[in-house]
Each structure stands twice: as C-alpha cells, then as structure tokens.
Amino acid sequence: MPTIDLASVAEQLRCLGCTHLVWIPDSEIGGLETHLDRSIRLVRACREGEALAIAAGLLLGGGRPIVAIQCTGFFEAGDAFRNVVQDLKLPLFLLIGHRSRAAFEAGRSGDSAARYLEPILAAWELEYIVLRPGDDAAAIGELHARAQAGGFAAAVVIAE
C-alpha cells in the first residue's frame, strides 16, 4: 500500500506548472497516474535514461517536465543524468522512489538499492530532500521553486 499521499503530490505537480510527467512507475508512486488531470501529459518511457533524455528535450522546448522513477532506475540512468545536468546544464527535477528505505533504516533490509542511493546522489552533486510518510507534500513545491530560481537540478526522494 502507498504510504505517501499521492493526491497531494499530484496537486503539487499541478500547482508548480508541470506540463509533462515522464516516468516509469514503481510500487510507491505508481498510483500517481490516477490522480493526474489533463493539464499534465503522461509520457511513459521504457528505461530511465530514456526518461531523462525525453525530459531534456522537453526542457529545451520550454516545457516544465518532472521525471518520476525508482532509485534502481536512477542508477541505470547515470550517463543520461551526467549529460543532461552536467553537460547541458538543464534544471532537471526528479521524484525518486527510494526502495526499501524504511526497512533499511530499521535494520531489517540489506537491499543495496536502499544503501547506495544517497551516496550516489551526493556523488552527482544533486540537491535533494527526503519525503517520508506523513510529510507535507508542499516540500516538493518549495524545492522546485528554489531549483527553478537557481537554475539547478534537484530531486525529491520518496521513502518507501
């Protein structure tokens, strides 16, 4: 069962003017699709690196995309992330589902996907916040506003 209020997340995306949600769903944020209205176009990608490149094209064209993927896909998308953020210097904004985070923090999981996400985000010098169950989804809009104003890429890590 989802632990994040996905209706509130969808409302945040609407409020910040998101034009396209480019995604590969995971078990936590997969239900977001049912909360989207027609103001946001859903773009389904086959791999996460592809999702980031699609978002780059949208940004170049003046769109306001958000990419939603799981942390495992973020690992796969390293080359695309490097190119879009470091070479093209585009203000990519991501929602990243953090698989097994809660269990890992409680010492009940050895899932390497949980262990390595934050070190890798740090290595990529990506600014991020962690959204835990019960947190106010308004934090998404606040980070997005700062990232847009500063012209930098950022991510919301959604704890699972």
Binding site: A45, C46, A53, I54, A55, G61, L88, K89
Partner: protein, 187 residues
C-alpha cells in the same frame, strides 16, 4: 550509399526543421552548412538523441524535429521506438544511418551488423511510416514525406561503413543551446 551523400540530400530539402545530429552525423552534418536550428549533440547521452527529439517534439508541436542517429546508438535505446510510437508526435522524424559499425570508436561491428531491420521494428511498434532505404534516389524520394507529412516517420538508411574520427564541436554546448533557444523563439 555514403553517409555524407545522405546528409547532403537532407540539407538540400531541409528548410526550418530542427536537426539533432548525434555521433557520425554530428561530425559530418556541419559541413553542409550552419543553421540556427541545428543541434550538434556532442557530448551526448549514449543512445539518447531519439528521446531528446521526442521531448522537443512534444514541447513544440509547431516545430518539425529530425533526429539523425546511428545504428549503434539505436541499439542502445530500442525501447524509445515504442515510447515514441505511443506518444506519436506528428512532427518527429528519426533517421538511422546504418553503417553496421561503431564508426567513431574505430569501426568495430555493431551486434547484428547488416542484419537488423530497424524499420520493421518501428513498424511493429506503431510508427506512422517506416522505411529501409539503400539508394540515394530512394532517399531523395522519401524526404518530402518525412519533412512535410504528419509523422512520426522512421527511415533506416543503409550506408557504407566508414570509420569517422569524432571531433569536438567548434563551440561550447551552452552556446549551441542558447542559439537553438533563440531560433525556436518563445513558447
């Protein structure tokens, strides 16, 4: 046919389309003239040019986008044939220059070199049109539809294997993106 011959023919027909050129095309396309709507996509995401083109085509439906890709790059991102077909942007054309090799790394064969029918894959994925062409005349005959008719269109051009040394673009990526942005105008 030769890759450069294909690009020369495209340059002849091209008007105000965005042209995204990756890998071998990125090296050879600038010799056919400078256009503010060119994006020489170097450095790139490996295999990412079609996805970049999809995003741009979705953001700017009034702008025609042409992506020049290689067969090695296409193999790295075959899934995007499906992603593009699902979105079905009528303003996108993807051209795969199939030389059967990784031309910029010394000419090593790509997997399945010479045997892969990308056009059939695109057809199966649901593209509006997909064709496999092997002669300059056939390419020239296909160009009007690719550039003018509603797409998305796919073309696989069988070209001669010619190793190509990758050369850095003459200006920084930031300058290239800024010029493209100005050329596209406000959204």
């Amino acid at each position: 046919m030769r890759t450069d011959e294909c690009l020369a023919k495209l340059a002849e027909f091209r008007t105000d389309e965005v042209v995204i050129a990756a890998m071998t095309s990125a090296v050879l396309w600038p010799a056919h003239g400078s256009h503010p709507r060119d994006l020489i996509y170097v450095p790139s995401t490996m295999g990412g040019a079609p996805a970049l083109g999809l995003g741009l085509a979705l953001a700017r439906p009034e702008v025609r986008v042409i992506v020049l890709n290689g067969d090695g790059s296409m193999l790295m991102s075959l899934g995007c044939l499906v992603s593009i077909a699902e979105q079905a942007p009528p303003n996108l054309a993807l051209v795969v220059l199939d030389n059967g090799m990784y031309a910029v790394t010394g000419g090593q064969p790509t997997p399945g070199a010479g045997r892969i029918d990308f056009a059939q894959m695109a057809t199966a994925a649901g593209w509006r049109s997909a064709r496999r062409l092997a002669t300059p005349d056939a390419w020239a005959a296909a160009l009007p539809e690719l550039l003018r008719a509603p797409g998305p269109h796919f073309a696989q051009l069988t070209v001669a294997p010619e190793p190509t040394a990758i050369t850095p673009p003459p200006e920084p990526m930031g300058d290239r993106l800024a010029r493209l942005s100005v050329a596209l105008g406000k959204r």
